[in-house]
């Protein structure tokens, strides 16, 4: 075993002293793993945003057959009837205003809520990390901004910012485990309605966020809400929040699924790159291997060195690509927003570690066939091939 470990520095030197070949191969692997980790992060974000958890208790009531915040208009007084429905714990009328209705990486979503319903409209565990809710209550144009949106736009408490024709004063920054909260700006409902008065939305809201008292009764409560307004002038369509996001962002979900194929393609590219690099290196080093065998190295030892070389290429490329992608996403705070629903490209060090592990495994796998071939090759045939 110690003999095998002693050979690792020799392989490392061999790679380091062929800088162009090693550099190009590692760059290729890094680019593929960058793509793979980026795609996986996007898919993670879609999964987190659209897959319902057992503890989810939020329903979104939207105007039936409307798919954009600009066309969903529900009377604000619906809130009293919704709160009387059995199983509803709280209901918050919410006006949504987005700076861009299409899918985009930089959309500002304003959520207008009544002053006394801000707490109820935020998910449990949400914290105001700077500024305060009391500051928010004191100013009509105040906004509490989600930290992801604030980081993306470089917004701090005390700033004023303008989006979609609405200018707000930043009274606080909030941190939340829910990506919709992290990517929105929370303003006073009358302020947002007033800002949109020209469009005729006064007294109307985009949606109601409804908290049910028992997560197991989500479907039943949603059905009750829709039945209650079925014969009204403005019928509703009620869905669990995650399903609502999944429907709103169905194009992004489709893109994420397609990107999954690209991710697998990137892994195939890594395998092909390493296999190609190793095959070329083996061809160039037939003489060196014959010399080593003459010095007493066995075929299996030469094969081991080939495996180590594949593993090193995969590992270095994997670390560069996967962690490079992780850093980019970590500091870029990207979120795709569509029809007011945000999907963060969410990554974790774990995703980068898995990516690196996959590159390492592919590197070893790519070395198996050449290693086996070399381990069986006689010295005479190696010298004969020079």
């Amino acid at each position: 075993m110690s003999r095998l470990l002693r050979l690792i520095p020799v392989v490392f030197r061999t790679l380091r002293r062929s800088p162009i070949r090693s550099g190009l191969t590692i760059t290729g692997i890094a680019m593929a793993m960058y793509l793979f980790t980026g795609v996986e992060s996007m898919r993670n974000g879609v999964r987190d945003a659209t897959e319902a958890g057992a503890g989810d208790s939020m329903l979104v009531v939207y105007r039936e057959n409307r798919y954009c915040p600009f066309t969903s208009r529900l009377p604000e007084w619906y809130v009293d009837r919704i709160e009387r429905i059995d199983g509803v714990k709280a209901a918050v009328p919410m006006q949504i205003l987005v700076s861009n209705c299409r899918a985009s990486l930089d959309v500002v979503t304003f959520r207008g809520v009544p002053e006394d319903a801000l707490g109820a409209s935020l998910s449990p565990g949400t914290e105001i990390t700077s500024g305060s809710i009391s500051d928010w209550k004191q100013r009509g144009d105040a906004a509490i901004v989600g930290e992801a949106l604030a980081a993306r736009r470089g917004i701090r408490v005390g700033d004023r910012f303008n989006a979609a024709g609405v200018a707000v004063y930043v009274a606080g920054i909030l941190e939340s485990s829910e990506m919709q909260d992290r990517n929105s700006a929370w303003v006073h409902l009358p302020f947002l309605q007033e800002a949109l008065r020209r469009g005729g939305t006064g007294g109307f809201v985009t949606q109601f966020n409804v908290v049910v008292d028992d997560p197991a009764r989500m479907d039943e409560v949603a059905l009750s809400i829709d039945q209650a307004f079925a014969h009204d002038e403005r019928p509703t369509a009620t869905r669990p929040e995650k399903a609502f996001i999944g429907r709103a962002a169905r194009d992004i979900v489709g893109i994420a699924n397609f990107a999954g194929i690209l991710g697998w393609g990137a892994l195939v590219a890594v395998f092909a790159l390493i296999a190609n690099a190793i095959m070329l290196a083996m061809r160039d080093r037939i003489r060196d291997h014959a010399i080593m065998q003459t010095l007493g190295w066995t075929g299996p030892l030469i094969g081991w060195m080939v495996l180590v070389e594949g593993a090193m290429l995969g590992l270095f490329g994997g670390i560069l690509g996967a962690f490079g992608s992780w850093l980019t996403i970590q500091y870029g705070r990207f979120a795709m927003t569509m029809e007011g629903a945000s999907i963060e490209i969410s990554t974790s060090a774990w995703t980068a570690i898995i990516g690196t592990g996959l590159a390492l495994a592919l590197g070893i796998l790519a070395g198996v066939a050449p290693a086996l071939r070399l381990s069986r090759r006689s010295i005479a045939s190696s010298f004969g091939a020079v």
Binding site: R3, R6, V10, R13, T14, I291, L295, I379, A380
Partner: protein, 231 residues
């Protein structure tokens, strides 16, 4: 009378190339005593390199027996042959055959990586071997930065670093000018006389045979002449 260090009995090597059967070594009988410096001569195709490869355990005979010391080399498996080679044989090539991406020190260190010895011991042995061949100031140089004579000295250091009983040289001066060849031959003779290493050297150059104490002539795979120097 002591047993010869190298004993070949009916040693035969046959190849088949297509339908043609080639026998570069044909029932060779040969004894070499420990500590001899043997020069092996003969025309191309006479079986010199084949014999050298068999002695090194690089190739295996198709018939006969080959004993080196107490080891029946002809009957060893590939793995055991490699281990035996690592411990007992040093091989010097005509074209030096250094690994180009390793520097002089690392090239000499290569055979020691197979042995279970400490890094300090490896360093001591590599330094000693490089000192013995007079290239202590070339540790960090890569083969491309060395002259032919220096490369061959590194190759000799690599061959002797494991302190082998048997040094095999395949035309070690074939690619060197006369002056450098003389210094390399003096070095080999010193290793033979001072350290008692048995050397078998293939050569085409009659001038280099004067350093040897035994001269063997091969032709068509058979021993034609066996001369012992009278020194």
């Amino acid at each position: 009378m002591s047993t010869p260090f190298i004993q070949c009995r009916d040693l035969t090597r046959t190849y088949t190339r297509g339908t043609e059967r080639i026998t570069p070594l044909d029932k060779l009988d040969l004894d070499i005593d420990r500590g001899r410096f043997v020069a092996l001569m003969g025309p191309s195709g006479s079986g010199k390199t084949t014999l050298l490869n068999l002695l090194a355990g690089i190739d295996s005979p198709t018939g006969g027996e080959l004993h080196v010391g107490d080891t029946p080399v002809h009957s060893l498996s590939r793995g055991r042959l490699a281990a035996w080679r690592a411990d007992h044989v040093g091989y010097i090539f005509q074209l030096y055959n250094l690994v180009p991406v390793l520097n002089a020190y690392e090239n000499v260190e290569l055979p020691l990586l197979l042995q279970s010895i400490s890094r300090q011991e490896r360093h001591r042995r590599v330094s000693n071997a490089m000192e013995a061949v007079g290239i202590t100031d070339r540790h960090k140089h890569y083969p491309r930065q060395l002259s032919g004579g220096q490369e061959q000295r590194v190759a000799i250091a690599r061959a002797i670093v494991t302190e082998p009983d048997l040094l095999l040289c395949d035309e070690p001066t074939g690619d060197l000018d006369r002056e450098t060849a003389t210094s390399i031959m003096n070095l080999l003779q010193r290793l033979n006389r001072d350290e008692g290493r048995t050397i078998v050297m293939v050569t085409h150059d009659p001038a280099t045979t004067r350093w040897a104490d035994t001269l063997l002539h091969l032709e068509k795979g058979r021993l034609l002449e066996h001369e012992e120097a009278t020194t």
